[in-house]
């Protein structure tokens, strides 16, 4: 079958065995393309296991800058014998499959509509390298070498990356370069290089970086001035705290004395993690805890406490697949409702939805400001896809003029001058009271409590006094709606009056879908929600679009449910477009849903 010309627009998928060290080879490959100026995105599909099970890495090369999954596989590197049949099947017609030909494959396990290339990776590495571990590792680098030839990658860029990757292990540089050379030479000598599927240098990645969401979130926590971090390890949020610690080690540790300007506490469980955060914020430190669904469930009791007692807290929920333990290494957006209403009683929480790592950074900073300003928990809803995969995004920027918004905290001088201090009075009419910190001034003392209290902060079981407080909390919620980040709205000049609503990591799939629909003459507007409470602009988008597709990654249309509950939009107007198998969503799902609706003639 003739190969289609796919310059700078294709997908490479690498099938490996977990624990064989393929991660660095795969990310090196992706970074090389990025450095050649061509936009890429990488997605890692890995099992909840340390060693032995199948793992895939998918690299999408897209000159147009599409970052979602594309649904195709143009080049498959099939390194896992166990999944060979499936991998073979997954290649798009006209594509290429590369396998380790050290052990020849059965002829039956082949396909006439794709090109199959065998590279004796194991044999070459066994001949060249001595230790068993090196042989396994170098097989990965050898396929990188073959791909350099087949995809026409810039060798000097690849070599430079090897130098940087192994800068701390100089001895590894030589071996890796040799392995690359082995694969490269074999491919050059054996195949027609390069393939019609290949990379040509461009200049489309200037001003961009490749970073995962968890690292960016951690940087946001550092830049916002968080000093106390408490957590209980859970995939996929663990790397938030790992990164926070390493940045603090670098930026907040006195090189002479070793003294630390931060305190990270590995809690005994998530109940304690959020408790530590509240104890710290009660005392005026910025504090946060990263977690995932099961952890959020455990934190509910204290989240309700913080809502009612009005304490700031930042929770980073990197969502994974539920219910229950679910699939820990797969992605979903299925904690929306449990996060919004975590805990019993009339409780609701501010949510932020970052859509790319840069926003993880920015919204993490915003989360601390909002938590302090509103004196309430703020939950940053990230997910595994966003948190653990490397994403191309605009460089992070920092405004040196930034100062934390610590909200309404009375200092010693203000307390000294005050007649008296009462914790829960709505002095300014925005629903936000003033607070004080322990130890600052005798006049500031009060009791933090989750039990019924009146506007002076004293215990009460009086109906009127209690209602006065919870009604003010509703007023505060109104203020929150004005303070939270507004949605990103893209209207099409030729709009048909249809809209799409989505949040978080569904964004690239929707952006691509909107473009693809426009190519087909279907013009839809797009509102990407960035926060709950939704605010006026989201309300208006819903009011002004006769049909709205709500794209989200869960079974029960949780975002749609929240929109129905918390806005005046009639339920019939919203149509759920759902994706919940655990892999990141692709544009095709959205395109199909809109097209189907169009064919059914539901449009006005």
């Amino acid at each position: 079958m003739p190969q289609e010309d796919r310059v700078n627009d294709f997908v490479i998928k690498l099938a490996n065995v977990n624990g064989t060290g393929s991660a660095s080879a795969n990310s090196l490959l992706m970074k090389a393309i990025f450095r050649m100026g061509v936009p890429v995105s990488g997605k890692n599909f890995f099992p909840s296991n340390i060693q032995g099970l199948p793992t895939w890495y998918e690299i999408r090369v897209s000159e147009a800058g599409h970052l979602a999954r594309s649904g195709r596989v143009d080049v498959m590197v099939a390194m896992n014998a166990q999944t060979y049949v499936q991998d073979l099947h997954d290649v798009s017609p006209g594509g290429t499959l590369i396998y380790d030909s050290t052990w020849p494959r059965d002829k039956l396990l082949s396909r006439p509509d794709i090109q199959i290339l065998g590279v004796p990776l194991a044999r070459m590495c066994n001949e060249r390298f001595k230790s068993a571990r090196t042989r396994i590792l170098m097989k990965n680098m050898a396929y990188v070498g073959a791909l350099v030839a087949l995809l026409d990658l810039d060798r000097s860029v690849v070599e430079q990356l090897v130098q940087e990757t192994f800068a701390k292990k100089a001895s590894a540089v030589g071996a890796n370069l040799e392995a690359i050379e082995l694969g490269y030479r074999y491919a050059r000598e054996t195949f027609d290089c390069p393939l019609p599927t290949r990379v040509e240098p461009r200049n489309a990645t200037a001003g961009k970086i490749m970073i995962d969401g968890n690292t960016a979130t951690a940087l946001g926590c550092v830049y916002a001035g968080a000093t106390v971090g408490a957590w209980y390890p859970i995939t996929p949020s663990t790397s938030v705290m790992d990164a926070f610690k390493s940045f603090c080690e670098r930026f907040r540790t006195d090189p002479q004395t070793g003294e630390r300007r931060y305190c990270v506490i590995q809690a005994e469980d998530e109940l304690a993690a959020i408790g530590i955060v509240l104890g710290a914020t009660w005392n005026g430190a910025r504090a946060f805890t990263p977690t995932s669904g099961p952890g959020l469930s455990l934190m509910s009791e204290f989240l309700g406490f913080a809502y009612f007692a009005e304490l700031p807290a930042v929770v980073v929920d990197v969502q994974r697949v539920g219910p229950s333990t679910g699939m820990p290494t797969r992605t979903q957006q299925a904690d929306i409702l449990s996060a919004a209403y975590a805990s019993h009683g009339d409780t609701k929480h501010v949510l932020l939805f970052p859509a790319h790592p840069r926003e993880c950074f920015e919204l993490a900073v915003a989360a601390f400001d909002l938590a302090d300003r509103l004196q309430t928990p703020v939950i940053l809803l990230s997910d595994l896809d966003l948190g653990m995969n490397d994403w191309m995004c605009d460089e992070l920027e920092w405004d040196p003029a930034y100062r934390p918004d610590r909200g309404k905290v009375l200092d010693a001088a203000e307390l000294e001058a005050a007649q008296a201090f009462h914790r829960y009075l709505d002095v300014d009419g925005d629903g936000i009271p003033y607070r004080t910190l322990p130890g600052v001034h005798p006049k500031g003392a009060y009791f933090v409590r989750g039990s019924g209290h009146n506007r002076y902060g004293t215990y009460t079981e009086d109906a009127r006094e209690y209602q006065e407080v919870v009604d003010r909390l509703r007023r505060k919620w109104g203020t929150a709606a004005e303070l939270v980040p507004q949605p990103v709205i893209r209207t099409h000049p030729k709009t048909d009056g249809w809209g799409i609503v989505a949040a978080g990591s569904s964004d690239p799939a929707v952006l691509e879908a909107v473009d693809r629909l426009a190519d087909k003459g279907i013009y839809v507007d797009y509102c990407r929600i960035r926060a709950f409470p939704f605010g006026r602009q989201v309300e208006r988008f819903l009011e002004t679009h006769e049909r709205v597709f709500v794209v989200e990654q869960n079974r029960d249309a949780q975002l749609k449910a929240l929109l129905t509950l918390e806005t005046d939009c009639p339920k019939e107007r919203l149509e759920a477009v759902l994706h919940y198998g655990g892999l990141p969503v692709d544009a095709g799902l959205v395109v199909e849903a809109v097209e189907r609706a169009r064919e059914q003639g539901v449009a006005a």
Partner: protein, 351 residues
């Protein structure tokens, strides 16, 4: 948490402490606990200890969970910050408070239900972290606030008010704290203020986690004949093995105890604890021997009281973490934010 405002009448003749404050300044709201509840006596001892230590009330953070005992912070130190957490989870609040501001005096008050059932995990980890705080368990063997169920500290064979007999072995917070590496472990009795006040003072001044388990009879649900946590039982079977005298740093030591019977331990602020052995065969420096002794006496139905174990100098939470001396909540933003240039430099890694 209920309390009734207390009229503040200061007699001219009332003694003033080093800060010029009277004992009234260390009181809180009026208690709404049952008349005769042991918890109220502990409150009084806490008030006296803080008063005598010259601690400025607003420099104290008092915390608790849920239960009758956990209500008591409302009844002492009205001018200090309080945190009435959720059931069993005060230790994590204390951990965060300590992380953010290492200069405050932290006192937590909890119940045996609060600490030994729902809160057992957090309690254990607070000990393990050697959190710098005084942790008081007001131990009555029952759930007072939910009206009389057995708690995890109820002894085998002890009976509930309606006659039901407890068959499960108790969890003894003292033995637990010792096993977990606690650096200050003491037991007192709400009916013995003389013993209690120095224990509270020493616990407050100890750098690290100070556990004070106080037997505190519940007159409403557990002060009957078949209870091992009643006033009568505690009075009869209590055996003080070590008496602790607390001597503030500014006072000279004029103790005249015989060598070998008194152990003097210097605390980080220069104050001292004199451990006077009442029972000759007790050694408050030997963790293993102390546990054995307490166990043996417990089997004989006795309750060992006093400062049962003490070790100074083990690193606390901040020591382990190597936290700066300045409280984290006071660090200026410039010392926390790496700034624009650092961010730009860092990003070369991401290209």
């Amino acid at each position: 948490m209920t309390s009734i405002a207390k009229p503040k009448i200061v007699h001219a003749g009332l003694r003033r402490n080093g800060l010029g404050l009277t004992i009234r300044d260390y009181e809180g709201g009026m208690s709404t606990l049952c008349a005769g509840c042991g918890h109220d006596s502990i409150t009084a001892a806490i008030v006296q200890a803080f008063f005598e230590l010259d601690v400025p009330p607003h420099r104290v953070a008092k915390m608790s969970g849920i239960g009758c005992s956990s209500k008591t912070p409302a009844y002492f130190l009205g001018a200090s910050h309080g945190f009435n957490a959720v059931h069993g989870r005060m230790p994590s609040i204390a951990t965060g408070a300590c992380a953010a501001n290492r200069e405050l005096y932290l006192i937590g008050v909890s119940g045996d239900g609060d600490s030994l059932s729902i809160g057992l995990g957090q309690f254990a980890h607070a000990v393990r972290r050697n959190l710098d705080m005084l942790y008081v368990i007001e131990n009555n063997g029952v759930y007072g606030l939910t009206k009389g169920q057995f708690s995890a500290s109820a002894d085998v064979g002890s009976k509930a008010k309606r006659g039901e007999e407890n068959r499960q072995p108790p969890i003894d917070p003292v033995q637990m704290a010792m096993a977990l590496g606690g650096t200050f472990v003491a037991r007192g009795f709400s009916g013995d203020k003389e013993q209690l006040v120095p224990l509270i003072k020493a616990g407050l001044q100890h750098r690290g986690f100070a556990l004070l388990d106080v037997l505190s009879p519940c007159v409403t649900f557990n002060d009957h004949e078949d209870s091992t946590k009643s006033y009568a039982y505690t009075r009869a079977y209590r055996r003080a093995v070590v008496h602790a005298d607390f001597i503030p740093s500014r006072q000279p030591i004029t103790a005249e105890y015989a060598e070998g019977e008194v152990l003097s331990v210097e605390l980080h602020d220069g104050s001292r604890v004199l451990l006077r052995k009442v029972s000759k065969d007790y050694n408050p420096n030997n963790r293993g021997a102390a546990i054995d002794y307490i166990r043996a006496r417990h089997r004989a139905g006795e309750i060992v009281t006093g400062l049962l174990y003490m070790a100074e100098g083990d690193p606390d939470l901040h020591g382990v973490n190597k936290t700066v001396a300045t409280p984290l909540n006071e660090l200026p933003f410039d010392m926390l934010c790496p700034g624009r240039d650092a961010l730009a430099a860092l990003q070369s890694r991401f290209r």
